[in-house]
């Protein structure tokens, strides 16, 4: 690996040569399995994956996946994906051309009288407290993967019970998308 190319949204678990593929698929049973199976049998790596109904029609879903373009040429990943009959369109978004967001939810054990440090972290990171009880607080951040990384790092000082991230979704910045 040579000099890493700088871009927004580096996460700890993501090496520098990742790419975001926004994949429009038919909303049919087993389609996610076909996509995941293709990656498994061809030895392609997926870092994160998010699926939801697509904007245009109930017939389609959108899979946003972060793939490793270091171990396999991106061209091979895109072309093999494109051969799946249920895959309708693939948009390859270079990280620098992407607007990316991710959701983080974390539940932290904390007693009522000692919540100030956590409240500060939450306030400074732009997160929100979404659930509270006597012994814990649940915080949420919807932000860039980098902001989620930062918050995750800061929460290490606390007694975190659970922390989940959704994996990112992304749209191309206007005028920068390339379709396959």
């Amino acid at each position: 690996m040579n000099a890493p190319e700088p871009f927004l949204g580096v996460t700890e678990h993501t090496p520098v040569r990742h790419h975001i593929l926004s994949v429009l698929v038919e909303n049919k049973a087993g389609v996610l399995s076909r996509v995941a199976g293709l990656f498994a049998r061809r030895g392609f790596n997926i870092y994160s994956l998010a699926v939801a109904p697509a904007e245009s029609s109930a017939k389609f879903s959108r899979i946003t996946m972060v793939v490793d373009a270091e171990t396999t040429p991106l061209e091979q990943i895109v072309e093999q994906l494109d051969k799946l009959v249920n895959v309708v369109a693939i948009t390859d978004i270079a990280p620098k051309d992407a607007v990316e967001r991710e959701l983080l939810l974390a539940t932290i054990r904390t007693e009522v009288n000692s919540r100030t440090p956590l409240s500060d972290v939450v306030a400074n990171s732009g997160a929100a407290i979404v659930d509270v009880d006597a012994h814990s607080i649940t915080v949420m951040l919807a932000g860039t993967p980098k902001a989620c990384d930062l918050l995750e790092a800061q929460l290490e000082e606390f007694d975190t019970i659970e922390l989940h991230r959704t994996g990112r979704v992304a749209v191309p910045r206007l005028g920068t998308s390339a379709s396959a």
């Binding site: 049973a29 199976g37 799946l84 309708v88």
Partner: protein, 569 residues
Amino acid sequence: MQLTGAQALIKSLETEGVEVVFGLPGGAILPVYDPIIDSSIRHILVRHEQGAGHMAEGYALATGKPGVAIVTSGPGATNIVTPIANAYMDSTPLVVITGQVASGSIGTDAFQECDITGITQGITKHNFLIRSAHDIPRAVAAAFYIATTGRPGPVLVDLPKDIAQSTMEWWYPSSVEELDLPGYRPLVDLDLERIAEAAELIAASERPVLYVGGGTLKSRASAQLLAFAERTGIPVVTTLMARGAFPDSHRQHLGMPGMHGMYAAVTAMQKADLLISLGARFDDRVTGKIPAFAPLAKIIHVDIDKAEFNKVRRVDVAVRSSIDRALEALDATGVVAQDLEVWWKEIDTWRETYPLVYDESDDEKLLRPQLVVESIYKASAPGTIVSSGVGQHQMWASQFWGFEEPGTWINSGGAGTMGFGVPAAIGAKVGRPDRTVWCIDGDGCFQMTAQELVTARSEGIPVKIAILNNAYLGMVRQWQEMFYEERYSEVYLDADLPDYVKWAESMGCVGLRARTVAEMHEAIRIANDINDVPVVIDFRTDSSEKVFPMVAAGASNDDIMVHPSQREK
């Protein structure tokens, strides 16, 4: 018109022009077998579902039409997984119908249930699990459309029993739009700019080679290939999957490249300054060690499947197109290469120095397998179709048979499926009853699928099987001899067990045995004279014979090993 799902399935197959299906009934597919009685479609009852799949492949390879197989759920479906994988590797158009347990039982581990769409996801071009009887025509039409367009391949349709039994109002899709395949776009416009770039590379080349792969046969481009090759004078090699795409007797044909390819074909590719790849995929059996493959060559890669570009080898010009259209467009440019006289002189020297050879037969010893293949070839009518299993006999068949036209070589290339030969020969004979069909088989392969000769006899399909019986799993033995210090591990089979003649006779075939050259010629003559029942000949061949030339696995094609008698040159 109200039909049951089962009737709709059969009517859909009829609508697609299916003339013959290969299959074996069972519980979940039972409803489908009832309307078969009343159908115009010929059903061939196999003895094992793997046989149905390979027969459908043999039929497809011999006719160019899609092969169709029908099997039941569970073990019926898993038994046809090998042919599906084989067809996927060799891009053979296949439609496989599997029965499935009733919709309500799916996911409950019901009797003879298995997730066949899940199992075959990675080895089909696409598959369908039908959810309602109304969808049957669309699924069948889509299956044929997908199997036969673009890069062909196998498509599986899984039909739950309750859906086969339910009723629907008959309809059939009348256009591609009605197939509802928004993600499948096999047809592309030929990019003439790419053709112009390819023509520029050809015009500049001094040592070009036409590297012809199976895609040339799939797109029926033999006539265009012949025209282009003859007009430009460029040398031609045909891969194992492309044998018959260009006449072996043609002066410009250097033969098969690759691991057991002709010396001149392998070496011409190594020394070429331009490879024009036509529906080939730079398979490891052709390239040898990839970094050392054709190091001086620029690459023009013509393929209908754009995922093949840059997969193994960086290409200089990628032309996404069927081979026939690309060749027509290239020919229309009128392009010619540089003067090829020097190139041809070099090539002719390789051809003269290292032709295919084998030691002469000697009646004190067992038969030379190469002589058996050559003798059958010489004794058989032009246009005879040959199938093979996988191993030494397959390589000798490819080397010593002369292929002159498409559809005459039926073999398992990418998957290397032992046992392919007998059922594939039967399927080919069903598709081309006018042709003589020989199967060059090995004793190991024969034992895997020989039961289908019962099918052949009972259905009146007179194929001819030549077993090159060397009592070994020969190709493995060859590798153990050459690379494992002659430590033979689990490769001995015994020439007399089973008794192949008795076995053939018990299956209603004529069984013959040949140990000497005279017996060999006589057996071949008898076999060629029999046209009503299958014939099996047990040729006793020399197990010490090895396939040459050979490039060891992982070695550079520069390190090709020729026949021992040629090594001092």
